[in-house]
């Protein structure tokens, strides 16, 4: 049995909950922040042991959507340079092919491919949610689970296909 952490004092709680977190909370990325009392008089118990708070599945998919987006953003300059090399001449194409086929690059290839798939699927899910589809809690959880698993399941076969097709 794990010992429950002691209750933080009210001052500590407000130090832990800057406005940045509250705006993310409004989008459902940090749902545990809902346990923070908004009225200073409140003496409700507060539990902010981050390692023991379990994110609901839709929140996990949402925060991974953001993380994947940032990963893809950081990869864009590399993509632009590789596109330039590959289109420039035969030597450039060969250099890009060597880099993309290098064993040391494969962990990054897998990570970026997962990021692309997760961002795509989670984004499609958000568009459907915007249209009012699947808003009920059960459906939202099922579609979140599908998004998470589909991206994870499709990453290895797609990577393997790229690997084989480029040999």
């Amino acid at each position: 049995m794990i010992k429950v952490a002691g209750q933080p004092t009210r001052d500590k709680v407000f130090a832990l909950a800057p406005r940045a977190c509250q705006s993310a909370n409004a989008r459902g990325n940090l749902p545990f922040m809902q346990t923070i009392p908004h009225r200073p008089q409140s003496d409700r118990p507060v539990f902010l042991d981050l390692w023991r708070i379990r994110l609901p599945l839709p929140a996990l998919v949402s925060i991974l959507h953001r993380i994947a987006g940032v990963m893809l953003l950081l990869a864009l300059p590399l993509c632009a340079v590789l596109l330039d090399w590959a289109l420039r001449d035969a030597q450039g194409f060969a250099a890009v092919a060597t880099l993309l086929g290098h064993p040391l690059f494969q962990p990054f290839a897998l990570l970026l491919l997962w990021a692309l798939l997760h961002h795509l699927f989670a984004g499609a899910r958000l568009l459907l949610l915007d249209l009012g589809w699947g808003l009920a809690r059960g459906e939202a959880r099922r579609s979140a689970r599908l998004t998470l698993l589909a991206a994870l399941a499709l990453t290895p076969p797609l990577w393997a296909w790229f690997w084989l097709a480029s040999r």
């Binding site: 993310a24 953003l73 864009l76 993509c79 632009a80 596109l83 420039r88 795509l120």
Partner: protein
């Protein structure tokens, strides 16, 4: 840029660019899957059709705009104090502008040399 890419307009831009990128990206992925170009000449021929070239040239500013709206949201939500946020946003703006111009130039030069 940040003043204009805010609120409902940014939300709409993010959704519409997402739709275009997903659909055009899927078309390109299928086309690549059917016949992956294995050398430089094949790659040049692969991007030569005008619908591919124009589609890619449109992709780049839309991708940059999509990434900017998302990155701006992320920075506003998680980065504090304001100086850190401003520095990050400046860096991202430079990174996106540079990458977009670089990719545009690469595509245009490849198109002109066909």
């Amino acid at each position: 840029m940040s003043r204009r890419a805010a609120g409902l307009k940014a939300w709409l831009l993010q959704r519409l660019s997402a739709l275009y990128l997903a659909l055009f990206g899927a078309v390109l992925a299928v086309r690549w899957w059917l016949a992956p170009p294995t050398d430089h000449a094949a790659l040049r021929a692969w991007i030569a059709p005008s619908w591919v070239m124009l589609g890619l040239l449109l992709c780049i500013p839309l991708l940059a705009a999509h990434a900017w709206v998302g990155a701006r949201d992320v920075c506003m939500d998680y980065l504090r104090p304001a100086a850190l946020r401003l520095a990050a946003l400046t860096g991202i703006a430079l990174l996106l502008t540079g990458a977009a111009l670089w990719a545009w130039r690469a595509l245009l030069l490849a198109g002109l040399r066909v």
